[in-house]
């Protein structure tokens, strides 16, 4: 681990393995770390297991998945060693989520206000008034006009972009040390995507929160992150600083991913999908690995 001994890393994921009940492996010994204030992008195709890492950290994995091995440290504390409720509190105290789909991430039957302030009162022990003031200030900060009215609104009264702003405000409200941003711009249209991305970056820089930014968009990676983890079929392909990923990618899959990214700035630049031969080759290597893994387990 790279963190100094006095200040532990905000997040350490070590050798994390997750599998379906039938034994099919979804994550294969994934390791990554985030230092305080750092932004790490987690990239890969859909199905590569990107979101699952974030879910494992936050403790919201689907019930049917099994953690087969590894350890998660949040600010140096072993989450795996905790009782469920201690873990729940620890996560709530230091981490938050900016979810992928703003339409389902807000409770349709409740007003916006309490959805932001509930965790502040419940976990951080703030007074209702203080929580409300913080929420209003943050809604204003994410450029929502008339925050008082929005606090009284139901989610269906807001547009998708507005809801994502609300969710960003809610994520930053308890001043977490870690935010998992799970493809926060995927469900939005392109013009809104840019604003939301800029907003997350601004708030991240103001607050110095470490962010685990899950995305499949290499263009977004370049804009927001300092470190990149490239994932394929639940396995880490490459882990490097962002500049190096773009100037000198070490892994052929990383190179293929970059080549597959269309550029909005330069529409004439050619782009090509990740070659099938490369995918087949990588999958073959992983299958051999799995077989050896099973052999060792026996």
């Amino acid at each position: 681990m790279t963190g100094s001994h006095t200040h532990p890393n905000t997040l350490d994921v070590m050798q994390l393995g997750i599998a379906l009940p039938n034994g099919h492996r979804l994550l294969r010994d994934v390791s990554l770390s985030l230092r305080p204030g750092e932004v790490r992008a987690l990239v890969g195709e859909s199905g590569a297991g990107k979101s699952m890492i974030g879910k494992a950290v936050l403790g919201i994995l689907p019930q049917n998945l099994r953690v087969t091995g590894g350890e998660i440290l949040l600010e140096g504390q072993h989450l795996g060693a905790m009782t469920p409720w201690t873990r729940r509190k620890t996560v709530a105290q230091s981490a938050a989520l900016i979810p992928q789909d703003p339409l389902t991430a807000l409770n349709p039957a409740r007003r916006i206000g309490p959805q932001i302030t509930d965790p502040l009162v419940r976990i951080h022990g703030w007074s209702r008034a203080k929580a409300r003031d913080t929420a209003l200030a943050l809604l204003d900060r994410v450029h929502i006009r008339d925050p008082k009215r929005v606090m009284e609104s139901y989610p269906h009264e807001l547009s998708g972009g507005m809801r994502q702003r609300v969710l960003i405000a809610a994520a930053f409200a308890p001043s977490p040390r870690l935010i998992v941003a799970d493809e926060p711009t995927t469900a939005l249209d392109v013009t809104v995507q840019k604003q939301i991305l800029r907003l997350i970056r601004e708030l991240q820089q103001e607050t110095g929160t470490a962010v685990l930014f899950v995305t499949h968009d290499m263009g977004v990676v370049a804009k927001i992150s300092q470190k990149v983890t490239v994932l394929f079929a639940g396995k880490v392909m490459e882990d490097a600083p962002t500049e190096r990923i773009f100037t000198d990618p070490a892994h052929p899959y990383t190179r293929a991913l970059i080549a597959a990214t269309p550029s909005y700035a330069d529409l004439d630049r050619p782009f090509s999908p990740v070659p099938q031969t490369l995918i087949a080759e990588l999958q073959g290597a992983i299958a051999r690995d799995d077989a050896r893994h099973q052999g060792a387990a026996r």
Partner: protein, 287 residues
Amino acid sequence: MADITAAAPRRRARRLNLRLWLPLLWLGAVALAAIFAPLVAPQDPLMQDLMLERLPPAFMDGSEPGYWLGTDSLGRDVLSRMIHGARIALFVSLVAATATCLFGAALGLVAGYFGGWWDRVISRLVDIWMAFPPVLFAVLLVAVIGTGLTSVIAAIALIDWTRFARVIRAETMVQARMDYVDSARIGGARRLTTLISEILPNVLPSIIALLMLEMGIAVIVEAILSFVNLSISSDDPTWGSMIAEGRNAIHFAWWVLLFPLIALFLTVLSFSTLGEGLKQRFDPVLQ
């Protein structure tokens, strides 16, 4: 899922919702009549007068003033008996449906959200319970624990909680998969807190609709039990016992059967329509 929300229209100017107001009007009238029965009823519902037997309703030849809907074979006023019968019908439907709802919905919520063993035990119990034919079950129950209002209410609750448990379990499972549940958990909400303050508000419109439906069903079950003489003592007027008595005289005094039947029909229909109306009214997304 997401698209439905996005496509939901903004608050429309609310026009008068007949599905809400017509049933409310009828049920309000029945409720008022039931509460003030001794004041409203034109005659004593138990008073027999063989001189006045089988009088036709007021709009027919041979009617007597003061007997608006005619009299039965013992000369008792049909309208007065209906008004007093409404007391029992409404009391049973309110108490029985509420008890059924609380019990069934609680089990449905727990099974749907906690899953695992909770779900397995509750679901199997529902399966077993539903294997019994309901009316036979009710008759058997009342026969065993004895007639009377309490037994009728207990019978309804014991039979129909499965309806709530099944429907609410399914709805809860749908809601439990929503991202907002994960958000609440990340925000440090306990499982029970999540169930009550996040999921329950979203399931509530369905619970209300079912509750109204159940009130209608309770009215019917009470009528059935009265019909076979297993409700309260046959002297007290109930809609079911009136229908049973009217059946014998259908060829020469159809009004004794028809008017309680209409009251029963309208009340049951009103409950179920009101349920749907309320569901729409209280669902923030459908609004």
